[in-house]
């Protein structure tokens, strides 16, 4: 199990390192894409270990436990936000935040529709499941 946790930890550290270096290279004081890069390393590590036949259930569990604990962590994160500053910031703060969010949500609607249809279980507008060939095969597993 510790191998799974360690795989996750090493992936994350590499990702953060690359993100920090990227930040320095382009001259910004922020981590550029550390988490996203860590994800790529984690997925790459999984694929390599699976190919080598080294990935077992215990190791998977070491990673998936942390994925499963994600929502409680997010709840704790919400409970430690500076909500007082947000709601006492005055009208400029509230209006600016809401306007920028509305613009972004509207754009999600547009971009999301441009996207290729996913190969998995889909729901049409009536809420019924649409299955394509691949997901049917996967569903049969």
């Amino acid at each position: 199990m510790i191998y799974g946790v360690a795989l996750l930890a090493v992936s994350m550290l590499i990702g953060i390192l690359v993100g920090e270096v990227l930040g320095i290279v382009i001259g910004v004081s922020a981590n550029v894409g550390g988490v996203g890069i860590a994800m790529v390393f984690l997925i790459g590590g999984r694929v390599l270990l699976e190919r080598a036949g080294l990935m077992d259930e215990k190791m998977r569990f070491g990673v998936l436990f942390w994925a499963g604990i994600y929502i409680p962590i997010v709840v704790a994160m919400a409970a430690t936000q500076n909500v007082v500053a947000a709601v006492t910031g005055g009208p400029l703060v509230i209006v600016t935040a809401l306007v920028s969010i509305l613009v972004s949500f509207a754009t999600v609607a547009v971009l999301g529709r441009m996207a290729p249809e996913p190969q998995g279980i889909l729901r049409d507008d009536d809420g019924a499941e649409i299955l394509d060939d691949r997901s049917r095969k996967e569903g049969a597993r």
Binding site: L8, A9, S11, G19, G23, I26, G27, A30, N31, V32, G33, V35, G36, M39, L42, I43, R46, L64, A67, I69, Y70, I71, P72, I73, V74, V75, A76, M77, A78, A79, T80, Q81, N82, V83, V84, A85, A86, G89, G90, L92, I94, V95, T96, A97, L98, V99, S100, I101, V103, F105, T107, V108, A109, L111, G112, A115, P116, P118, G120, L122
Partner: protein
């Protein structure tokens, strides 16, 4: 009595936080089932309750870290801090569909570009509407509409007034909090239910905490796709804010 409380709860802050969040999740899941007949996710309720606790903690302590500023709940700061949060977010990518990410990569990149420019323009327009006329202040407030990190980074780079920087931070926090609450409510109408739309969402919203919580409350399966693009947003914003975006604002407002 106080010593006893300290040595049990305060000295084991992280463990206390696990127990507390577990309790909060039980209550929220029950409320989701009984009060809302499953129409609202238990995690959405838990996140909103978390935000209310953060407000109460902030008012009670005068600090900036919500409930974690109260000694008894200090472990919440560790559990909800960026280290464990990012660790868990990376873990969610373990079962990501790689083909899906590749196919939707272009959408993610477009969303990132728009996710920096559109909120900035909206934020800058609001700053102008509220009477700001100098390019530095307008840019700083516009950058705050990206995330609460881009705002102060941009403002500091441009030498903005500290009041304006504080406003840009507050705007970013407000955005993050609002994204947590509003996302599950509008997910249906805006079609936020596929990995591709989650990637677009992450790039457009940018705020990692807002995206993380918003998607968790909508459909936890979408979390890694949104987080993957959102994580590039702050860096891109810090790059463009004090440079291209500032020059554009200065060209208009001198």
């Amino acid at each position: 009595m106080n010593d006893l409380m300290d040595s049990v709860f305060v000295d084991h802050g992280l463990i206390t936080a696990f127990a507390l969040v577990g309790l909060l999740m039980i209550v929220s899941n029950l409320a989701a089932d009984k009060l809302f007949a499953g129409r609202i996710h238990g995690s959405a309720i838990a996140i909103v309750v978390g935000l209310i606790l953060a407000y109460a903690g902030g008012v009670a302590s005068g600090g900036e870290d919500g409930i974690a500023d109260i000694a008894l709940f200090s472990g919440m700061g560790l559990l909800g801090g960026s280290m464990l949060r990012d660790f868990a977010i990376v873990a969610t990518a373990f079962e990501v569909n790689v083909a899906e990410v590749r196919r939707s990569g272009l959408i993610g990149v477009i969303a990132l570009g728009l996710g920096v420019v559109l909120p900035f323009v909206a934020g800058a327009a609001c700053a102008v509407a509220f009477g700001y006329t100098d390019a530095v202040s307008i840019t700083t407030i516009g950058a705050g509409a990206l995330t609460y990190i881009v705002g102060p980074v941009t403002g500091t780079a441009l030498g903005a007034d500290s009041t304006v920087i504080a406003l840009s931070v507050a705007t970013g926090v407000m955005k993050s909090v609002s994204v947590m609450v509003i996302t599950p409510l509008v997910a249906g109408p805006i079609g936020l239910r596929t990995p591709a739309s989650a990637m677009a969402f992450g790039g457009l919203m940018g705020t990692t905490s807002g995206v993380a919580a918003g998607l968790a409350a909508t459909d936890p399966k979408l979390v890694p796709y949104g987080a993957m693009t959102a994580t590039f947003h702050t860096g891109l914003g810090c790059l463009l804010g004090p440079s291209v975006l500032f020059l554009a604002v200065r060209a208009i407002f001198g």
